[in-house]
């Protein structure tokens, strides 16, 4: 296992943990996008370019966007503009 793969595995573990530990949903969405980006690099390093392209398009663009919009709809739908960091 090369040093590049070791670094990428560590980054995957770190970014995946970050998704769980970040408690503010707004920031969590960007954490999950960062995790997707790291996974894209990992799949590329493991010579799976097809999977990497899918992960890049779905995990970094599509899924975070849907989460962002859903979060925005939840927050805007509420009558009062609360801080909104607890439910999740």
């Amino acid at each position: 296992m090369s040093a590049l793969l070791a670094v990428l595995f560590l980054l995957t573990a770190a970014s995946g943990t970050a998704v769980v530990l970040v408690r503010d949903p707004g920031r969590q969405i960007f954490a999950i996008a960062a995790n997707g980006l790291v996974l894209t690099l990992l799949f590329t390093a493991l010579q799976a370019p097809d999977v990497a392209l899918s992960e890049l398009a779905v995990g970094v663009a599509a899924v975070p966007l849907l989460f962002l919009v859903a979060l925005m709809a939840v927050r805007a739908g509420r009558p009062e503009a609360g801080s909104g960091g607890d439910e999740a």
Partner: protein, 258 residues
Amino acid sequence: MSPRARLALLAAAGLALLPGAAATLGGLPAFGSRIAEYGARINALVPGERHVANMVSAINFDLRGLDTLGEEFMLLAAITGTVVLLRGRRGEGMTDRAMRRPGRAVRPQTEAVVLACRVAGVLTALFGLYVVLHATVTPGGGFQGGVILASATLLVYLGEGYVGWRDAVRSHWLDAMEGGGALLFALCGLVPMLVGAAFLQNVLPLGTFRDLFSGGLMLVENLGVALAVTGGFTQLFLEFMEETRAADGPEEPGEDSA
């Protein structure tokens, strides 16, 4: 169930599953070792049999084309379900402004953002088309290219705002692309049967190895997948974006057009 009982149940379940998990983990091939049989055979057979350089596309669209047909209809069903669920509550009415959070200022896009989005949107769409068209030559294909094309439309939202996005992205076209793509794939299965071949059999001329036009029927199936995925994902984005649309009623004071 008390937390203590739940923990005990978890521990018991873990203990029961432990031997199986250990046996499975022990039986895995070592990291980095290649599972050679299938891959080696595909690599040896496909360039000669199908004239295709991207083995993943060859498996997806030809050798295991039936699986991809199933996935195609799974996607169609999932998108349809989402649309029914979201649109059912909201209806199909249109207002031309987005909802906004009370107390949060909405600034218009700066010229730099608009310019960057117009340039990057076109480039992203071009790259998506490239990935779709080169499915049988380079990594990628209808699914990946389709999602890239769909995300290119999001740059319209970012650059032109909600009203521009609503003008540019029409739901009916997306419906037609999504359903038409799935229909095209199904026809790729059925039409060969008219000429006496098997379902999804590759009856078209296979073309030249490493050429853009290689793979025969795979190109048509790839086009179907690209249409369905582009339409489906854009439809998904549209339906989710519509969740942020302002309600028609006058009950939200102090709003003007976005």
